[in-house]
Symmetry: C2
């Protein structure tokens, strides 16, 4: 049981770091109205598709460490949304990459469960500066919309 | 006033197509706990950052047409989440590109307003097949997590 959205979030990233599929699927709401988007991946719907994607990711052998930062919270009744940066180190010695994630938690019975995870690549700091500086570059995918 | 999340969504994409900044900012909740992520862009927080980003996008002269598809809805009390595909045609004659978006609407007073828009590139159909076929490719960013 996850008594707060924070507990659910901790359990989610712990399951991810440990590549623990059973713990991961405990985090998600136990119904099929859930959605998961991995970086540059398709939208996955329902427990079967979501579970299968984590099984595949965990099966590829790469181990990841997560450092979360810049957590913004939107809270409304029984729904809590976190928009945050995942600073990820893959296996040993590689440099950190950053992913932007929207995580949505919902109170189901007496436990907060994940209902959506939408992750996408975050720009590197120099890319952000480029966005500031390049008003005129209408072909840049960074400013498509 | 937007009486349903659907009305808000229609107004959001109409403002985007018309490059109408005033109409766009009418759609967003009138407080600073809002977040917007454009494809491959940084997380923007608050009305000033969000408004400035749309001003820049609208100012670059490119006009976009949106065809929405595959809308998945998660509803809980005064919060509605849509995860959908934006099929976008830029100006005349270019081919369609697809963006995955999570849109969150919240009932504020008697009007549904947008509080989050997280958009990221969707894989092309052939990319999705590659994900299915390439279990072993642990360096692929598509399966990072």
């Amino acid at each position: 049981m996850f008594r707060t959205p924070q507990e659910t979030e901790v359990a989610f990233y712990r399951a991810l770091e440990r590549a623990d599929l059973a713990a991961m699927m405990e985090v998600w709401a136990d119904d099929d109205n859930i959605a998961c988007v991995h970086p540059m991946g398709p939208r996955l719907e329902g427990r079967e598709e979501v579970s299968e994607s984590w099984r595949r990711i965990f099966g590829n052998g790469a181990r990841m460490r997560f450092r979360l930062s810049d957590i913004q919270e939107l809270r409304e009744g029984d729904v809590v949304v976190h928009v945050l940066h995942e600073n990820i180190t893959v296996s040993a010695g590689r440099s950190e990459s950053t992913v932007l994630a929207t995580n949505i938690y919902r109170l189901v019975g007496d436990s907060w469960r994940m209902v959506l995870h939408h992750a996408s690549p975050a720009p590197r700091p120099q890319d952000e500066e480029e966005i500031e500086d390049e008003d005129e570059d209408e072909d840049s995918p960074k400013v498509l919309h």
